[in-house]
């Protein structure tokens, strides 16, 4: 391989955090002008490695070369000067600044910014044309869709002279169509000689758009592959170090009577914004109802209302024979007594308490139960026994009820929460993002358990931003956009393209066109 052809080369890069070996002698070489994927589970060391490249951390030892020059960044400024740009998972944009203002942020030039604004306008127009990244420059960032905001981030990088772009989980917040658009941009960038490093956990994306892929596991770089010569099964196996089942087998649903009927729901969130309008559906026993949608389109508020956390402002929910209306609110405690279990979307903030012990987290929502209380006394021994049995049932590791909840991995925290909610034999299960931030091994386990609950005749409502998850688990799918249901499909008729159109509310010719939102 010609030497000049390598954009970034890492040789034996090593990084410790205290006793943790976050990066263990990592080697990586990224060819210039290619798309290079880096995959690995949470905590495999991907983010640490990229943070070293972007100057947030310094490597303990090892060598980094950027375009054949020795590189050692102590701040992101140096990385930018070396030609590295980064698009973070959560955008670093000032919402009420215009696109143009955001782009020059950090490179304003002199005391007066009018000149640099004018220069930037010319340069950005050129860049936009060259890479097919058209964005209106004088609009406030908060008015742009998420996909457009991401473009601004990419433009920002290019404007600052990036020849290597690092993108951290860029498709997490996009609809499938927006993702496709992003990949088209990647192609344009690649043609112009820009190198792209894509960090993701979605193997499908890796397979579709990358040229090379590197796999990390437990701080080590375990494999480099040419994408065309590998397959998702091999990559998954490399990531977790054993074989995994990517597609869960499930039998046909034996759908029974409706256990939850929602009629014309209207819901306002905690900030008093209307999030859900005119939503109606039924959830049947023995069936998984998937609710798909891009993050922030009302699914979260719907989930909270179903669990009794948010009140309804209109409509009614009938659960297990009881009716909830705006006047007759049932709080989460009463709903639990009715047999409604809720796995919240936000595991860290709502599902558990980080500095409670596992046994106390396993008690949330059930601390009034007779089995663990004797008069005024909350029996520690019963609390511990409860946690131990939950841990055993869901294979939570380490199985130590006294360990702080925050010390478990994401997957094990989630397993503990699922165990808490599943093991009380509820009739209706409301599950939000069951596998978000969970390692592949646990994903497989969690999905199997959800299907087991379905087969035991429970009604399950599943909300997930992962389309793949919705499609592989659900029996029926409803799609939400902007607080409304934009489509209902049988899972066997669903495909990503139609769901994606529904998620953007672009598939109903009888409606007035709302496609402009995209």
């Amino acid at each position: 391989m010609a030497k000049s052809n390598i954009a970034i080369e890492l040789i034996n890069v090593d990084k410790h955090f205290g006793a943790v070996h976050a990066n263990d002698k990592v080697n990586l070489s990224v060819e210039s002008g290619t798309i290079h994927g880096i995959v690995g589970e949470n905590g495999a060391g991907k983010s640490t490695l990229m943070s070293i490249l972007y100057g947030f951390y310094q490597a303990d030892s090892g060598q980094i070369k950027v375009f054949d020059k020795d590189f050692r960044a102590t701040s992101s400024r140096q990385s930018i000067e070396a030609g590295i740009g980064m698009v973070h998972q959560h955008f670093m944009l000032v919402d009420n600044f215009t696109v143009l203002e955001n782009v020059i942020l950090g490179s304003e030039g002199g005391a007066l910014i009018s000149q640099s604004l004018a220069n930037a306008r010319i340069e950005l127009t050129r860049l936009a044309k060259e890479y097919g990244l058209e964005v209106e420059l004088d609009i406030a960032v908060e008015e742009l869709s998420v996909g457009m905001q991401q473009r601004v981030e990419i433009l920002k990088g290019l404007y600052k002279g990036a020849r290597v772009l690092i993108l951290d989980e860029p498709t997490g917040v996009l609809t499938p169509q927006e993702s496709d658009e992003l990949f088209r941009i990647f192609d344009a960038l690649k043609k112009q000689g820009v190198t792209i490093i894509l960090i993701t956990h979605k193997l499908r994306e890796i397979m579709n758009i990358t040229d090379h892929v590197s796999v990390m596991r437990a701080g080590k770089m375990v494999a480099h592959r040419e994408t065309s010569k590998t397959n998702p099964e091999e990559l998954a196996e490399l990531m977790i170090g054993r074989k995994v089942l990517l597609n869960i087998e499930k039998s046909k649903a034996k759908s029974g009577k409706a256990l939850l009927t929602a009629k014309n729901l209207e819901i306002y969130n905690e900030q008093g914004l209307k999030r859900v309008t005119e939503v109606s559906f039924e959830a049947h026993s023995g069936e998984i109802l998937g609710i798909a949608g891009v993050t922030g389109n009302g699914q979260g508020s719907l989930l909270k209302a179903l669990a009794g956390i948010l009140p309804l402002s209109k409509g009614s929910i009938e659960i297990m024979g009881k009716t909830i209306t705006p006047e007759t609110h049932l709080n989460p405690k009463k709903l639990r007594e009715l047999g409604v279990a809720h796995v919240p979307e936000d595991r860290q903030k709502m599902g558990m308490i980080a500095d409670f012990s596992a046994s106390e987290t396993a008690l949330l929502g059930y601390h009034n139960d007779k089995e663990i209380n004797q008069g005024v006394w909350l029996k520690r021994s019963s609390v511990k026994a409860n946690c131990e049995s939950l841990m055993q049932a869901f294979d939570v590791r380490p199985n130590n009820p006294n360990l702080m909840s925050s010390n478990f991995s994401g997957g094990n925290q989630q397993k503990l929460i699922l165990a808490r909610e599943f093991e009380r034999d509820p009739e209706v299960l409301i599950i939000g993002q069951p596998t978000r931030g969970v390692d592949i091994g646990a994903i497989e386990f969690i999905r199997k358990r959800i299907i087991e609950m379905r087969d035991a005749g429970k009604a399950i409502i599943l909300i997930s931003v992962e389309l793949e998850e919705i499609m592989s688990l659900s029996d029926r799918i409803i799609v939400m956009c902007d607080g409304e249901i934009t489509g209902t499909v049988d899972a066997k008729d669903a495909n990503e393209a139609t769901l994606g159109m529904m998620m953007a509310n672009a598939l109903q010719p009888q409606d007035e066109p709302k496609g402009a939102k995209l």
Binding site: G18, T48, K333, M350, F356, L363, G365, L403
Partner: protein
């Protein structure tokens, strides 16, 4: 030892210890500046506070007040609330005690009067906390601001009550008449004397047992009842509490009532135990001292007992210093307290990064 265990040792024991030591060293430097031998001063302070039975009695008597206010701050803290109103709650709690102890039928047995008077203190302390609590829970007014304002209100109220209502006819000073005898809590030296042991007179009275009882009760309540669980859950995460069916607004009101009630007990020691009448500013400084005690005691009853004892030593030993040394005035106690509060409160985590790096390095990756 697991990392969790090490961390809890660092947070619970080593940090407060290092902080107190630092405060003492800083005090020593202050002594050097004013031309006092720090070693000599330490000797006098420790001997004065612990060396003979009268001094020890005073130390424990001061500590009793700090236990009550420290527990009050700690309970609120576990619900995520910073109760700065201990001063006012203690003051008004004293009024509740006085109303029972002044006006109850003197023929009644002490076994009824004393619990009733204690209940009066609990009730009035709670009442004084309930309005700030309501405003925080249902109107969003910050509890720190409102409880501070209620301290001033309490001051004004008590002056009014003492001057215009409770002052005896013909008396000049704004104080009530004597409490009914059955409401007096026995002094410890009297109890010892009744068993034939002679110890020096001191204000130490049976309130110290009440303080121990409430320390145990708070411990049991917070960690071994479902209500304590709900309070701690709401204090750690509002969202998780709502998710669990706990109403955080109710928790705020209930917890502040408990907190205020505990602060209201200061009057038991000061009024029922020692002075046997209600007078101005009997609560002075204990409410704020309680904040430092709770901080230093890591909001745990055992820690609070230890911290309250230390504050008792500072109070009593400081008084001895003032008495023994020419160029030391009583204000040195305030300086020492200030330094302890600075290092245990303001600079609470000064040594934490260093201690963690050496004793409990992080094991997970970021």
């Amino acid at each position: 030892m697991t990392r969790d265990r090490r961390l809890s040792w660092i947070n619970g024991l080593l940090l407060p210890l290092f902080n107190v030591l630092t405060a003492f060293i800083a005090t020593g430097i202050v002594f050097l500046f004013i031309g006092v031998d720090p070693i000599e001063a330490t000797k006098i302070l420790l001997y004065g506070a612990l060396g003979y039975d009268e001094g020890l009695g005073y130390t424990l008597y001061y500590a009793t007040n700090f236990v009550f206010t420290g527990l009050a701050v700690a309970v609120a803290f576990h619900a995520g609330l910073f109760n700065i109103g201990g001063e006012g709650q203690a003051y008004v709690g004293g009024l509740g005690i006085a109303l029972v102890a002044l006006y109850i039928n003197p023929a009644m047995s002490a076994w009824i009067v004393i619990p009733l008077a204690i209940s009066g203190g609990l009730l009035f302390g709670a009442l004084w906390a309930i309005i700030p609590a309501y405003l925080q829970a249902y109107r969003g007014s910050h509890i720190v601001i409102t409880t501070i304002m209620f301290n001033f209100l309490a001051s004004a109220l008590m002056v009014y009550v003492l001057v215009n209502i409770l002052r005896e006819v013909g008396e000049m000073s704004p104080e009530s008449g004597d409490f009914i005898k059955v409401s007096w809590l026995p002094f410890v030296h009297d109890i010892f004397a009744s068993f034939g042991y002679k110890i020096a007179r001191s204000p130490l009275n049976l309130s110290i047992l009440v303080a121990l009882f409430f320390s145990a009760a708070v411990w049991f309540f917070l960690w071994h009842t479902r209500w304590g669980f709900a309070i701690r859950a709401a204090g750690k995460s509002n969202e998780a509490a709502i998710y669990s069916g706990i109403n955080p607004k109710k928790i705020i009101v209930v917890t502040m009532c408990i907190s205020g009630a505990l602060a209201g007990l200061v009057g038991i020691n000061e009024l029922m135990g020692v002075q046997h009448r209600l007078f101005l500013n009997f609560n002075y400084g204990y409410g704020f001292g309680g904040i430092a005690v709770a901080l230093m005691g890591r909001n745990h009853p055992i820690g609070i007992l230890i911290a309250a004892f230390l504050f008792g030593i500072l109070y009593q030993g400081g008084a001895e210093l003032d008495f023994e040394l020419q160029n030391v005035s009583r204000d040195i106690v305030v300086v020492m307290q200030g330094l302890v509060i600075l290092f245990c409160g303001g600079l609470e985590y000064l040594y934490r990064p260093v201690l963690i790096r050496f004793l409990a390095p992080i094991k997970e990756s970021k």
